[in-house]
Amino acid sequence: MFSDLAALASNPRQSLSQILNFALVLSTAFMMWKTLSVIADSPSPIVVVLSGSMEPAFQRGDLLFLWNRDKAAQVGEIVVYNVKGKDIPIVHRVVRRVEVVDKKTGSRDMRLLTKGDNNVADDTELYARGQEYLDRKEDIIGSVRGYVPCVGYVTILLSEYPWLKKVMLGLMGVMVVLQRE
């Protein structure tokens, strides 16, 4: 361990290139995320289920792939929406849909009401105060198209135990820096 550190100090060119490598890995991951975001037209194309309100379809920690290119949301579709003023995305099913056409401009407004499969009541209580429905364009960040179980549980652990984040980042950094060619 200490001899490694000594080697590191004696060979700054190699250690610099290793740090660069690490930065490259991070930026590649970030670029892939952003590319997916552009393809799916959604600010967050992959989400992790945080609550049990959609059981038995989705459990906590399941990974969902979103698609946001369809401008219509069907009844029964599982959508992810952000409530105004809250940061947490919610994954629920559309149970009611009304399409309002503005007679003057001809523009179509899609109004949706959602409900979790495992909840008794619909989501009116969850919405922002005075809001009775979701707007397809404003509130929805995508509808669920693909599903992988359990994989996202790591992120739940990371957000529930913040020190785990530091430990993981630290370990990754140390491993990259100390790794020999």
Partner: protein, 167 residues
């Protein structure tokens, strides 16, 4: 080069790649299944039909739903979410879709069913447009895989009409 860490890393990467590949193949295999589901819905009774003080019409129905969704199930099917939506047009809204009943089918054995039920969710119009209204009842289903892509489809049944008078 051949340290323990290096080998463990290579093994883990290989195992995860194979797992991801198998998951993708399993999901793709769902496309080989061409289902032929059938469904029939009868309205047995209009339980009541009234206008609320705020001017919105609400109706309560008794439905008889018969469906055979067994062919939707494959080895990658976790559950099928099935629901009935009432669909109609009003002067203000170009389309209204209201889910009136839903259910979760956990296994193929339960996919051929018959149920007589009143509407589980309230069938309320945004306005007073339901008298004499023609509407469709559509049986939708969403196939939830164990992993991979989700599938959805529907059977539209048309020709239903609500009575001209409140009751």
């Amino acid at each position: 080069m051949h340290s323990f860490g290096y080998r463990a890393n290579a093994l883990l990467t290989f195992a995860l790649t194979i797992l991801a590949l198998i998951c993708a193949m399993v999901s793709l295999s769902d496309n080989l299944n061409s289902p032929s589901p059938s469904a029939e819905i009868q309205i047995l009774n209009i339980n009541w039909f009234q206008r609320h003080p705020d001017g919105n019409d609400e109706v309560s129905l008794t439905l008889n739903i018969t469906a055979d969704l067994q062919s939707l199930f494959t080895w990658n099917t976790k559950q099928v979410f099935v629901f009935v939506a009432a669909e109609y047009e009003t002067p203000k809204n170009s389309l209204n879709q209201v889910s009136v009943w839903d259910g979760i089918i956990p296994a193929k054995e339960h996919a051929k069913f018959w149920i007589q039920t009143s509407n589980k969710y309230r069938l309320i119009d945004q306005g007073g447009n339901l008298r004499g209204k023609e509407f469709n009842l559509t049986l939708h289903w969403h196939v939830m895989p164990k992993t991979g892509k989700m599938f959805a489809d529907k059977i539209v049944m048309s020709g239903y009409r609500l009575p001209e008078e409140y009751r």
